[in-house]
Amino acid sequence: MAVAVVAMVLQRNLFSVVVLFAIYSFLMATVLVALDAVDVAMTEAAVGAGVSTVLLLGALHLTGGTEAKRLQRPLVPLVLSIAVGAVLAYGSLGLPAFSDPQAPIHTHVAPRYLKDGPQETGVPNIVSAVLASYRGYDTLGETIVVFTAGAGVIALLRRRRGRR
């Protein structure tokens, strides 16, 4: 994955950047499978590697294949992103250890979902039960966000076409 990222940054030909991006997404999907998050992995493989690659290729078709020359030295953005990354890494030190059963997230409502979920909803897959039933409001919000984003893009692209 690191190789793909470095190659992506160094590469000037945007077509190969898009292909590297797809490779990165597939590697990310395998990482998610290894973390037992199969449904997230499915989404990553289909959206990250599939549909967004197609959309990026479509955008390339409209704009042309090579990156524009840089206007200035990328020193300030580089320092800034390294600083932000360092702060995030420092923050992750304060997190509980990976798969620690005593972590706050595992002691709040999760045990109740795991214990009572199958009886209350009759759905053996707890992820589905939490997503659609216990957290129904959140999922409704997510669906509305997806809808709003799609409607916004439609509105933007339509108006362009009309003006031409």
Binding site: D39, G58, G122, P124, T143, F147, V153, I154
Partner: protein, 143 residues
Amino acid sequence: MKDDIILRVVAKLLMPFMLLFALYVQFHADFGPGGGFQAGVIGAAAIVFYALIFGLRAGQRLAPDWVVEKMLATGVLVYAGVGIAGLALGGNYLDYFVLGADPVSGQHRGIFWVEAGVLLTVAGVMLKLFYMFAGRGRGAGEE
């Protein structure tokens, strides 16, 4: 890519399996990983794949533009409608317990319709974005 016989044959062979897998992910979500989001993107990816190989026109014959546009809004309305149905049957908003004869079958029914709403919206947004991007190059380029 319309003239490449290997791509055409492979695409025709794979299409039923991709769509079937999307449906499997949708309706088997009670027992295995999956759900509306995943099924929506897999189904949309299958149609995008078909449109890439056989041309945008063929893809739009498979999933017409106006249907896709309606799917966007229908999904949200189905989801919100499940909530309203819960209200009408005497529960709280998005309460599924009241939807069936007993609480567990009510939950099943509620989750089923909610997932169907998510599927419609997600697949609709994906396809619509693809159609808009692909359709814009149409005026200028070959493809």
